[in-house]
Symmetry: C2
Subunit: 353 residues, 2 copies
């Protein structure tokens, strides 16, 4: 990611036995780097949204497990594996909806269990290398998604975008916002309608911050205004990311995505979800079984430390919703774009790597 | 309106040649009464949303014109009428979308021009009385809407509600929230899903404040979460007010209403707009010609005085949207409930008074 015109750091980085992250809670006001030497702190950072975005929390969790391997006092491989399994549970429990977290931890555990690794030291070296490889792969995957998705964007398009799916939601570059960035880099004139994305305001805080640095023109709106722009013909396409995609193409994503998709389709505007194949959960036949995280009521009742609602009231704060596949025009992955029927196209793309 | 269990005052009141209003910007944290002795301050109070809600701003403007008649130094009736026409223009320009403002001012000017009024003094007395009569009528009209609308609510219903349409949006009692209040007073168990209504947070600040005092159970959600509750079958009906209704039933209302209506209909949930017949603009054949107010970008970029977005960015902040009539199940007025075809039923109800 760049800041004030220069490259600064990735969203999540491995630095000599520590994990460095951009503290996304402080943006756009302050650029703060947080460093963690304890995997439990990494789990807390995921839970508290120091780092957020499905691809980013996958890599953060993988690095967290690598860190756990260095923290473990185990002298042999079986003892280390036991410690890793316990750390893995803690990291996995940090957030329930995005499947990338579990995907990344599964991959790390598989690596740790490879029989070619003999000593505890072998496992530690392998896990640190694997987590770093996953970070590099994530950037490469995002750039491939960018190229596939940019083919959907025409010169002069206005793209309505939900939440943050930029470099900050991944290790770098971005998913849906990476697609828009790629189109911009190809010389297409694009305009982004950035919805603010209550309650955590990832659109107003993070997407606006990234687009401003990339020099891509955009207009910030409240989530409520998206329908007005869709109805009055000012949107060419709707793009967002995904936290988990079921085999049939149902997409769990940041709360508000469903409303946007329904109103987009109602107005004949194409709707694209952009996500790496690691977000696709082929084991789930449809979106009904995706766990929806319920977060702290204070995300709703307080904004920037200021109380907005009366005290002592009931609040519901689901962090995600499920958009049934019939509202989705296509799903952009690093292996190409899936179109309906998704239960045929998605398994093909996931397995084609 | 009541506060801490006791009746305090109406949203807008005439008090011995001054206008008293509840300053709605300070709620729910502080209960502040503002007093105005200059009609220009009344216009500013409408513009700045000290007072808001279509019925309330209608009565505030009527009282503002009564105030202007007292402020005028005119010695005879023709001179006073000239002063009133100039004051009327200023009051009318305060906010463009709600038609109640123009409706109330038209009625006041008609009264001022009645030939039975001979002297400037006659006109002044008549206007002060007319404005007070309009305030009383507004309360009576709201209560009649309440009874009509409450027939739509069954015991155990959950009503999804947008913006604030309570006593604070009118002189007292409320429009859509008045309907819910009436059902509650009839002993029906109701639960309200209160969406916060960005950017001005009338739901989180005002509707939550009113429902809490009325003892009606409710749950506060962000606007983005409404779709999740609609899709998962947890909403019996959607209710909101209106700022202007065209002859064909197209409804201009607080930004976000359109999205809610589309997603409600998509899920088979009935959608009701509740508004007095003074909100119906029979001269407009459809909603396309309704002017949509664009408000200060700081309503989007700042919340409670806290900046949330980066500096120096483009913002669009339409305060209202238009919901085409095909998404509206019925329109509740003080003269009964209009059903499609609205271009037949609405004129009948408007003229039946």
């Amino acid at each position: 990611l760049s800041y004030a015109g220069r490259m600064v750091m990735r969203t999540v980085e491995w630095r000599d036995g520590k994990i460095a992250m951009i503290d996304q809670r402080a943006l756009p006001h302050e650029f703060i780097m947080a460093e963690y030497a304890d995997y439990r702190q990494v789990a807390a950072a995921i839970r508290d949204m120091v780092v957020r975005g499905a691809p980013a929390i996958g890599v953060a969790a993988a690095m967290g497990l690598a860190l756990a391997s260095l923290q473990s006092l185990a002298k042999d491989r079986p003892a280390l594996l036991r410690d890793l399994e316990s750390a893995e549970k803690e990291l996995r429990a940090a957030r329930p909806t995005a499947v990338n977290l579990g995907w990344a931890l599964d991959r790390m555990l598989r690596r740790a269990r490879e029989v070619s690794l003999v000593s505890a030291g072998d496992v530690r070296v392998a896990l640190v290398a694997e987590a770093q490889a996953m970070a590099d792969e994530d950037v490469a995957v995002n750039k491939r998604m960018g190229v596939h998705g940019a083919s959907l964007i025409r010169d002069g398009d206005t793209i309505l975008h939900h939440c943050n799916t930029g470099g900050l939601a991944a290790v770098d570059y971005g998913t849906a916002l990476g697609v828009i960035r790629c189109a911009h880099e190809q010389g297409k004139r694009v305009h982004v309608l950035v919805d603010e994305t209550r309650p955590r305001l990832q659109g107003a805080r993070l997407t606006a911050w990234e687009l401003k640095q990339w020099g891509i023109p955009f207009t910030l709106i409240v989530d409520n205004a998206a329908g007005h722009f869709l109805r009055t013909g000012r949107v060419s396409l709707v793009m967002f990311g995904a936290d988990r995609i079921a085999r049939n193409g149902d997409v769990a994503n940041k709360i508000g995505t469903y409303k946007l998709a329904v109103v987009g389709r109602e107005n004949g505007v194409p709707i694209y979800s952009v996500a790496p194949t690691s977000t696709v959960d082929l084991a789930l036949l449809d979106g009904d079984a995706i766990p929806i995280e319920e977060r702290d009521p204070r995300e709703v009742t307080d904004i920037g430390g200021v109380r907005i609602a009366p005290e002592g009231i009931a609040v519901a704060n689901p962090a995600f919703d499920v958009t049934p596949h019939r509202y989705i025009t296509g799903i952009v992955t690093e292996n190409g774009i899936a179109y309906p029927p998704f239960d045929v196209s998605l398994p093909q793309l996931v397995e084609s790597q």
